[in-house]
C-alpha cells in the first residue's frame, strides 16, 4: 500500500489519487494476392490481449477478408462495353473490436478505508466484478463498385454496408439485497446499414484553352436498429417514459427501433369549444391532459438521405468552387412553433402568429391552443415535421495572377481568394435559427504571394 491516497492524515487537505495501468499485447499479419491485376484477394488476422478483460475472455482474434474484381480489365468485357473505362467490384467482411471500460471492472476489488476502526485499517469491496466481460465487437459486410465511363469522363462509386455491433458494455442492475446496485455486463446489439453513392461528371476538359469544369454529386444514408438491449436499460426506459420536457422530444431505446427514433404524445388538435388541446389515449379515448398518455414513435431524427453537390470550374488562373448540401426525410420538432406560438405567454412581446393563429373564443377552429392557457404543451406529433433542407454551403473564388503581370515584382506566384460560407438555407420547416448563437457567414478575403 504505497499509493499516496492511502494515508490517513495530512497537514491541510488529503490528496486524492487515481491510478490505472493497462497492459496489452498483440500480433498481426496480412496476406495480399493478386492475379494479373484483375483478381484481388486480401486477408488479415490480429490477436490482442489486455489486462482489463476478465481472465475468461483475455484473448480475442480479429480478422478480415476481402475480394475484388477489376472487371473492366477483362478482355471480353472491353469488347462488349467499350465505353467502360474502369470498373471494379469489391466485397469485404471484417471483425473488429474495442476495449472500452475501466481496467478493474472485471475483478471484484477491495478499496481501503481511510478511517481506522480502533487503530486498525479496514478495506471493503467496491462492487461485484464480472470475469466474463468481453470485447465489444463489430462485424461488417461491405459491398462496393467503382466504375468509370467514356475515358473517366463520368465516374461512379457506390458502397453498401451492413454492420452489427454486439456485446456493448452496459450496466446491469442488481436488487439491493446484493448490497450493491449494479455491475458491468456485455449485452446488447446494434445494427447499422447504409449506402453511399458518389457520381462525378468531368463535363469540360479543354487543355488548349485551359478550361475544365466538373460536377460531383454524392448521397449517403444510414439506418440503425437496436437488436438487443439489456434488462437494466429496458427498466430505465420504462421509468423515463413518463417524463416530459416542454421544448424537446424524448429519445428512448427500444428493441426493434432506431437509436434516433423520436417519441411524442399523440394529439388530435384543438377543441373548437374550449380551446384545449386534445390528446389521443392508448385505448382510443380523447383526453385533455397529457400526463398519462403513452408516447408513440413518429419517425427518425436522422435524415433518410444526406448529401452534397459541388461544382468546380477553372479557366486559366481563375478557379471557382461551389458547394451545396441537402438533407431529405428527417423528422424534426418545430421548436419555434411550440415555444413561441403554442406556449407563448401573452404578457410578453410575442410572434404575431400568436394573435393570428391561436384560439380565442368558442367556435374558433384554430391550430394552436387557447390564448389564456398558461399550462405548457409538451411536444406532440402535430409539431413534428419532415424536414427537407437545401443549403448553400460555400463558394470559393481564387484568382492566380498571370506570371507576366507579376514577374516585374520578382514574385513567382500571387493569388487572391475570396470565400463565403452558409449563404442560404432552404427548408420546408419555417423556424427561427441563430437565436442561441449568432450565425456567421464568414466572408474571407486573402492574398498570398510566393517569392
Amino acid at each position: 500500500m504505497n499509493d499516496i491516497s492511502n494515508g490517513t492524515s495530512y497537514y491541510g487537505e488529503k490528496p486524492k489519487s487515481g491510478e490505472s495501468t493497462i497492459r496489452s499485447t498483440g500480433f498481426t499479419s496480412t496476406i495480399n494476392y493478386n492475379y494479373d491485376n484483375r483478381y484481388f484477394f486480401d486477408t488479415s488476422y490480429r490477436l490482442d490481449g489486455a489486462s482489463s478483460f476478465g481472465a475468461q475472455s483475455r484473448w480475442a482474434p480479429f480478422w478480415s477478408v476481402g475480394v475484388g474484381w477489376e472487371f473492366a480489365r477483362e478482355k471480353w468485357l472491353k469488347s462488349v462495353f467499350p465505353f467502360l473505362s474502369s470498373g471494379k467490384f469489391r466485397y469485404s467482411y471484417g471483425v473488429t473490436s474495442t476495449l472500452n471500460f475501466a481496467p478493474y471492472e472485471a475483478y471484484m476489488t477491495y478499496s481501503y478505508y481511510n478511517e481506522q476502526y480502533n487503530g486498525l485499517i479496514g478495506a471493503s469491496i467496491i462492487g461485484y466484478g464480472n470475469p466474463k466481460l468481453g470485447w465489444q465487437d463489430t462485424r461488417q459486410h461491405n459491398y462496393g463498385v467503382d466504375m468509370g465511363f467514356f475515358n473517366n469522363r463520368i465516374t461512379l462509386s457506390a458502397n453498401y454496408y451492413q454492420k452489427i455491433t454486439s456485446n456493448l458494455l452496459t450496466d446491469a442492475y442488481l436488487p439491493i439485497s446484493h448490497g450493491y446496485t449494479s455491475y458491468k455486463e456485455t449485452l446488447g446489439a446494434l445494427e447499422n446499414t447504409g449506402h453511399d453513392i458518389t457520381v462525378g461528371f468531368n463535363i469540360l476538359r479543354i487543355p488548349e484553352k485551359d478550361i475544365t469544369w466538373s460536377v460531383r454529386v454524392s448521397t449517403y444514408s444510414n439506418k440503425n436498429i437496436i437488436l438487443e438491449l439489456s434488462d437494466a436499460i429496458k427498466k430505465i426506459m420504462s421509468d423515463s417514459e413518463k417524463e416530459n420536457y416542454t421544448n424537446s422530444v424524448l429519445y428512448m431505446y427500444k428493441e426493434g427501433y432506431s437509436l434516433d427514433e423520436i417519441y411524442v404524445i399523440p394529439s388530435v388538435g384543438i377543441d373548437p369549444e374550449s380551446g384545449n388541446r386534445l390528446y389521443l389515449n392508448e385505448d382510443g379515448s380523447i383526453v385533455t391532459t397529457s400526463s398519462y398518455v403513452k408516447k408513440i414513435a413518429v419517425g427518425n431524427s436522422q435524415p433518410k438521405y444526406n448529401g452534397r453537390l459541388g461544382t468546380n470550374f477553372r479557366w486559366k488562373g481563375l478557379l471557382i468552387d461551389l458547394g451545396f448540401g441537402y438533407r431529405l426525410g428527417g423528422k424534426k420538432l418545430n421548436n419555434t412553433l411550440l415555444t413561441k406560438v403554442e406556449n407563448a405567454d401573452i404578457k410578453w412581446n410575442q410572434d404575431k402568429r400568436v394573435m393570428q393563429l391561436r384560439w380565442r373564443q368558442p367556435g374558433d377552429v384554430a391550430a394552436y391552443k387557447n390564448l389564456a392557457s398558461t399550462e405548457p404543451t409538451y411536444p406532440n406529433n402535430l409539431f413534428v415535421f419532415t424536414e427537407n433542407t437545401f443549403t448553400f454551403n460555400s463558394v470559393n473564388v481564387t484568382y492566380d495572377l498571370p506570371i507576366s503581370w507579376i514577374k516585374h515584382f520578382r514574385m513567382e506566384r500571387l493569388s487572391l481568394t475570396a470565400s463565403i460560407t452558409d449563404l442560404f438555407y432552404i427548408s420546408n420547416i419555417e423556424q427561427e435559427r441563430g437565436t442561441n448563437y449568432p450565425y456567421t457567414i464568414k466572408p474571407t478575403f486573402s492574398c498570398s504571394c510566393t517569392f
Binding site: 497492459r23 498483440g26 476489488t109 469491496i125
Partner: protein
C-alpha cells in the same frame, strides 16, 4: 522457399510466446486490491474483517435510523413529534406511514447496507475457506467467528425490522433472503422457519469458533482494553479491545436475544445467565452494570456493560444545548420525569440534560452521545448489546422468585425503587424498563414488536400489528 519457412516459423513462435503472457497481463491496481490478492496475506484478512466494522459503525451512528430520533425512536413515540405538519419525514415515521417516498428511500438505504455488509462477509468467508496456511489456526478461527457473527447479526436486524411479529408468523410466506453466497443472480427469499434456522446455525458456529480463540474468555476487559498489547502471546493490536468487536459474550448475548425473539424462554435464560456470570480469572464479574461512577467520568453509555460496542471516533452534536443532531432533543421534561420515570428518582435521569425548544417548551436532551468528539477522552463506544438487556431477559424468563432477585439488583443499580413483580405485572414492567433503559438506542421498538403490544408505552397511542412490519423497499420489489 527456405526463407518462407523461416518466416512462417518465426511467426508461429511469436504467437506461442504471446499466449503464455497471461501472467504479465494480470495487473494489480495500486489503490485497490483484487479479492484474490487480498487473501494471500494475513493483513488482507484482517483488513477485510475490519472493513465490516467500519460499514457497520456507519449504520449504528447516533442520529441515524437505528439510534436516533429520525428513526425507530420516533416510530416508538419515544421522541416527541410536533404533529403540526403532516408532511415532514418524522411525521411519516411517527404515524408509521412506511410507504411515503422519503421513508422508503431511507429504509432502502438501510436494507441495502445490511446486505452490503453481508456480501462483504461472504467474500471474507469465501477467502477463509480457500486459504491454506496463510493464517494461524487461532486467528483463522477468530476471523471466521466474527465474520459469521456479523453476518448473522445483520440478518437478525433485517428480520427484526422487515420480518413478522414472532408470534404471528405466516408459515408459507417468504419474508427475506438469507444470503450466504456471492452471485449476480437474484437471491432466493425464504420462509421464516428456514431463515431462523440459518440464523441459529451461523450464531452457533460463531460461538464455537470464538470459544476456541477469543482472548476475552481468559482475560479481563481492563487487560484487553489497553494499548500496550501487554498480554503474553498476543502481541498485535488486532487481538485487543474485544468489547468493541463481536466477541464470545456478545455472541452469547445475541443468542439470548434471538432465543427470546423466537419464543424459547429456557434457552434465552441460559445464555443470558452465562453472560451475567462470566468471570475474570481473578474472580470478579467480567461485565458490570453502569453506576454513578461511570457518569462521573462522562461515560454516559455505560461502557462497562457493553457486550458489543461500535467504536466511534468522532461525533459532534450539532444543534441545541449540546449542539446535537437528531439524537438529542428527545422529549418534553414532563413526559420524561412523570411518565417515563414515574416521578421517581432514577440514576438514568442524569443521562438527560435540560434544554428548551420553541415547539415544546422545557425539553430533555439525551447526553448519551455528547462525549464523542475527537478531543474527548472517553471510551467512544456505541452499544449494540448491553448487559442491562441480559438482566431484562432474565427478569422476563426466570421463575418469579429468581426474576425478582434480578429485578431488585437491577433497580438498585439504577438507584430507584423496586416493587416486587407478580406474574401479572412482569411483562408490563419489562416493556417500561426497555424504554427507560434503552432510550436513544432503539431496542424498545423491538420489545414492543416481540410482545405484539397494542399500545406504545410512552405516548399511549395504539398500534396495529402491521405497523410493526416494514414493507420491502420498492427498489427491491421491482426485481421480483
Amino acid at each position: 522457399m527456405k526463407r518462407k519457412i523461416v518466416t512462417i516459423a518465426i511467426c508461429i513462435l511469436f504467437v506461442v510466446v504471446n499466449s503464455s503472457c497471461d501472467d504479465w497481463l494480470t495487473v494489480q491496481p495500486k489503490n485497490m486490491t483484487t479479492k484474490e490478492k487480498m487473501f494471500e496475506s494475513e493483513g488482507g484478512f484482517e483488513m477485510a474483517l475490519v472493513g465490516l466494522y467500519v460499514t457497520l459503525q456507519g449504520i449504528y451512528t447516533p442520529g441515524f435510523i437505528m439510534m436516533g430520533g429520525k428513526g425507530i425512536e420516533t416510530m416508538t413515540h419515544n421522541y416527541a413529534e410536533s404533529l403540526s405538519s403532516t408532511t415532514t419525514y418524522t411525521y411519516q415515521l411517527y404515524s408509521h406511514n412506511y410507504t411515503d417516498a422519503e421513508v422508503d428511500k431511507e429504509f432502502s438505504y438501510l436494507f441495502q447496507h445490511y446486505y452490503r455488509i453481508i456480501a462483504n462477509a461472504n467474500a471474507l468467508l469465501d477467502g477463509l475457506e480457500q486459504q491454506d496456511n496463510v493464517l494461524s489456526a487461532d486467528k483463522a478461527a477468530l476471523i471466521e467467528g466474527e465474520a459469521l457473527a456479523i453476518r448473522a447479526f445483520c440478518h437478525f436486524e433485517l428480520l427484526r425490522l422487515w420480518g413478522p411479529v414472532p408470534t404471528r408468523v405466516d408459515a408459507q410466506k417468504k419474508y427475506l433472503p438469507y444470503v450466504k453466497i456471492l452471485s449476480t443472480s437474484n437471491y432466493e427469499y425464504v420462509t421464516y422457519e428456514e431463515y431462523v434456522e440459518l440464523l441459529f446455525s451461523d450464531f452457533n458456529r460463531a460461538e464455537e469458533l470464538l470459544d476456541s480463540s477469543d482472548p476475552i474468555k481468559n482475560y479481563s476487559n481492563s487487560d484487553l482494553n489497553s494499548s500496550y498489547n501487554s498480554i503474553k502471546g498476543y502481541s498485535e493490536t488486532f487481538w485487543y479491545y474485544r468489547q468493541k468487536r463481536f466477541n464470545l459474550y456478545g455472541v452469547k448475548a445475541l443468542l439470548a436475544r434471538l432465543y427470546l425473539w423466537t419464543g424459547n424462554k429456557t434457552k434465552a435464560y441460559n445464555y443470558a445467565k452465562e453472560v451475567l456470570e462470566a468471570k475474570n480469572p481473578t474472580g470478579e464479574a467480567k461485565f458490570t452494570l453502569g453506576s454513578q461512577a461511570n457518569i462521573n467520568k462522562s461515560d454516559y453509555t455505560f461502557f462497562s456493560e457493553h457486550l458489543i460496542g461500535m467504536y466511534l471516533y468522532e461525533f459532534e452534536d450539532k444543534n441545541g444545548n449540546f449542539k446535537g443532531e437528531n439524537a438529542f432533543l428527545v422529549n418534553t421534561r414532563d413526559v420524561i420525569t412523570d411518565k417515563l420515570y414515574a416521578n421517581e428518582t432514577d440514576l438514568r435521569l442524569k443521562l438527560f440534560a435540560l434544554s428548551s425548544s420553541s415547539t415544546f417548551g422545557s425539553v430533555y436532551g439525551t447526553q448519551k452521545f455528547s462525549k464523542f468528539k475527537s478531543s474527548d477522552n472517553t471510551d467512544k463506544s456505541v452499544p449494540l448489546v448491553r448487559l442491562s438487556e441480559m438482566y431484562l431477559i432474565l427478569i422476563e424468563t426466570a421463575p418469579l422468585a429468581e426474576a425478582n432477585s434480578y429485578y431488585q439488583a437491577f433497580r438498585s443499580a439504577r438507584e430507584t425503587s423496586n416493587i416486587p413483580l407478580t406474574e401479572d405485572t412482569r411483562l408490563e414492567e419489562m416493556v417500561k424498563e426497555y424504554v427507560r433503559e434503552f432510550f436513544s438506542e432503539g431496542q424498545s421498538f423491538f420489545a414492543h414488536k416481540r410482545l405484539n403490544r397494542t399500545t406504545l408505552f410512552l405516548s399511549g397511542a395504539t398500534i396495529e400489528e402491521n405497523e410493526y412490519i416494514l414493507p420491502i423497499p420498492s427498489v427491491e420489489l421491482g426485481f421480483y
